[in-house]
């Protein structure tokens, strides 16, 4: 179910959303839907100074690939690209890009939304937030009340 053109990566380098988006473009598709996640400065009135992401890298990559199998089982999509950044990220920097190309954009939107939700639930990546007065590991999205 996985296509050779799909990609799943972890990187410590800055992410170029435009270039990543373009990597999932097949000649028969007319649109890509992209989720660009980034470090937000304010969360519930508290200011974040920077973040550190870490991952159980081999498992995170394997889980990303499993997500692509799950997405293909539900949505008619052509290509999927998922890249998550690790290490220290400054405010406004992109943490994750999920790009999905499909012949019909409805499937691309649905798959992209499903992939980010599942990534936040199952891919072993952790975020540590640094504030002026300390730091804390983020709660996961499994927490009741989280989006």
């Amino acid at each position: 179910m996985r296509k050779d053109t799909d990609f799943f990566e972890l990187t410590r380098e800055p992410l170029d959303v435009g270039a990543i988006t373009r990597r999932v473009v097949p000649a028969t598709c007319g649109a890509t839907v992209v989720l660009d996640g980034y470090v937000r400065q304010w969360t519930s009135g508290k200011e974040t100074l920077h973040l550190i992401y870490e991952a159980f890298e081999p498992m995170a990559l394997a889980e990303m690939q499993k997500l692509s199998v799950g997405a293909r089982g539900q949505f008619e999509i052509a290509h999927i690209g998922i890249i998550h950044r690790l290490g220290k990220l400054e405010i406004g920097e992109t943490s994750v890009v999920i790009a999905v190309a499909a012949p019909h954009r409805k499937a691309a939107f649905a798959a992209c939304e499903w992939l980010i939700r599942e990534l936040k639930r199952s891919v072993p990546i952790w975020k540590k937030e640094f504030y002026a007065d300390g730091s804390a590991w983020a709660d996961g999205e499994n927490v009741i009340g989280a989006e």
Partner: protein
């Protein structure tokens, strides 16, 4: 028979994120008699690292990079990862 001599299993234990910070190490090893399950390892790990008690309900476990349940059997040389709630994205 060699099976009778080697009924001990050795596993590698990995800690990530907040769990690693709580125990203070990234890796540990553990030996137990066969057969054993994830539950066997969890019980021993929580006994060894009291600072991990806050994670009793939230920790997930992966055996050889696959999510596992308490009932999952473990074998010699398995890699058991203790994963706090993930927060990527």
């Amino acid at each position: 028979m060699s099976e009778n001599y080697c009924n001990n299993i050795n596993v590698k234990i990995l800690f990530f994120g907040a769990a690693r910070d709580a125990v203070g190490v990234e890796e540990a090893s553990f030996s137990t008699a066969s057969p054993a399950s994830v539950f066997t390892v969890k019980k021993a790990v929580f006994a060894r690292y009291e600072t991990l008690s806050g994670f009793a309900k939230s920790l997930m476990v992966a055996v050889n990079r696959e999510y596992a349940t308490d009932e999952t059997a473990i074998e010699n040389q398995d890699e058991i990862a203790f994963l706090p709630p993930v927060s990527g994205g």
